[in-house]
């Protein structure tokens, strides 16, 4: 018999009312103070990340909750005062969500090779039994994207662009948009690690 470990507690969906616990303001809970976990502050270039999650019928997932985890501007995790983590809820009318954060620095892959600058994203929602891991990359980092070890591990090269955001024009700060497709022809790449 192989060695037995404790079994991880199984996942269950966050459900439609996930905001009560994780974004009380969005649920309409007036607890007195405001919370803006979609705004990350720290040294570096300020950027905005926005997007929408689309279901298999092409409709926005309007109760999605997205979490972000990223390195600081120098490519470090858990360094200094930069929390590196954020949480955003989709707008109930449109499904649109956004973060304001700083542009992450380059982080090393396991073997020391540089990874292209990116943020990690988690998707929670009603109908999603276990959260989905994905990444957002920046379109102007062309050479780094070409060499990125994680993007290269996606066998079908045609699926890699699903992780590369679009830079929007004419915005006050650099703004990137990522449409996350849960299912279908242009399905976003989701990771298991």
């Amino acid at each position: 018999m192989p060695v037995e470990y404790l079994k991880e507690t199984p996942s269950q969906t966050g459900g439609p009312y996930v905001h009560i616990g994780l974004l009380p303001v969005a649920a309409g809970l007036a607890y007195g103070t405001q919370e803006h976990p979609h705004i990350l502050t720290g040294p570096g270039e300020r950027i905005r990340i926005e997007g929408v999650v689309i279901d298999g019928s092409g409709h926005p997932v309007r109760d999605a909750l997205v979490e972000l985890w990223q390195a600081d501007s120098e490519g470090r995790h858990n360094a200094g005062d930069f929390l590196g983590w954020g949480r955003a809820g989709a707008a109930f009318e449109t499904g649109e969500w956004f973060f304001e954060t700083i542009r992450p620095g380059v982080t090393p892959w396991r073997d020391g090779r540089p990874q292209a600058r990116h943020v990690s994203l988690l998707i929670f929602a009603r109908g999603i039994n276990i959260h989905l891991h994905t990444r957002l990359y920046f379109p102007e980092d062309e050479a780094a994207l070409e060499a990125d070890p994680v993007l290269r591990s996606i066998e079908q090269a045609g699926r890699r662009p699903t992780l590369i955001a679009t830079r929007l024009e004419g915005t006050p700060i650099p703004t990137y948009r990522l449409v996350i497709r849960l299912q279908g022809d242009e399905e976003t790449v989701f990771f298991d690690m």
């Binding site: 470990y5 269950q12 969906t13 966050g14 649920a27 299912q183």
Partner: protein, 261 residues
């Protein structure tokens, strides 16, 4: 009420430990067979919200082996007491319970100082959420969200009202068992977990399509909190025990080789 604090305020992130102090070793692979698959048609909403392509398997890198560190000062004094943290002119109505337990990893190590967030319906099964229109009444003294942090030994507790079952639009007559949603971070983003706690003996448990997304009975059992008379408070509150297991971290016997990828 101190429930909500701006987590973006400078200084809230704990000053980062030196790299040498960070836990080393990869988070162990997730046994996806012990979790619900994405596509579970008995739970209708999953049909259009489940990827059809396989997940891309990835070795964990520095962004997966680390995660946010929240300070204990994030929490106000009543945040783990749902009977009082939304109180207006009295305490919440319903069956008063304490929920407690230990957060461990798969290797049996306690997970200290990690954030646990919970949310739930009130005693009648009604959520305080703008999108919940169930006709059961709101409780003016019950909000339904709370947070706590595990102590140095991985222990947590909160006090609340046992939530009521409620109907939902799945098969017309589906009712959720009494349940409390919970969310955990662990010490790595790869350990992130959102799930639901159920109560021992609830006859709705075997009928629930959401619990039914879990492939086997043993997995469903791991989500059931046990009545714990030993920790009940006489003439005040019953207690339930619920231990939570996050992914383990393996030892680094050998450094990674550059040609290994």
């Amino acid at each position: 009420m101190s429930r909500l604090i701006d987590v973006t305020r400078p200084g809230l992130a704990r000053p980062g430990p030196e790299p040498a102090e960070l836990p080393r070793g990869d988070i162990m692979r997730r046994d996806r067979g012990a979790h619900p698959p994405a596509f579970t048609p008995g739970y209708k909403t999953s049909v259009l919200r489940s990827p059809r392509r396989a997940l891309v398997s990835l070795e964990p890198g520095p962004g997966e082996n680390t995660g946010p560190v929240f300070r204990a000062s994030l929490l106000g004094p009543l945040e783990n007491d749902l009977i009082r943290n939304y109180a207006r002119d009295g305490e919440a109505i319903g069956e008063r319970i304490i929920v407690h337990g230990k957060v461990l990893d798969e290797c049996g190590r306690p997970v200290p100082h990690t954030l646990l967030e919970v949310w739930q319906a009130n005693a009648g099964g009604r959520y305080r959420h703008v999108n919940d229109t169930y006709l059961a009444a709101l409780d003016p003294n019950f909000g339904g969200c709370g947070r706590c942090m595990t102590d140095a030994e991985g222990n947590y507790f909160f006090r609340t009202i046992r939530p009521g079952p409620y109907p939902w639009r799945n098969n017309g007559s589906d009712w959720r068992p009494a349940h409390i949603h919970f969310s955990l971070f662990g010490e790595a983003f790869a350990q992130r977990l959102v799930s639901q706690l159920y109560f021992e003996g609830d006859p709705l448990i075997p009928l629930c399509p959401i619990l039914g997304t879990l492939p086997d009975a043993a997995a469903r059992e791991r989500l059931v909190a046990r009545l714990d008379m030993g920790q009940s408070v006489p003439f005040d509150a019953l207690a339930y025990r619920f231990d939570i297991v996050l992914r383990g971290r393996r030892q680094t016997f050998f450094e990674n080789k550059p040609e290994g990828h």
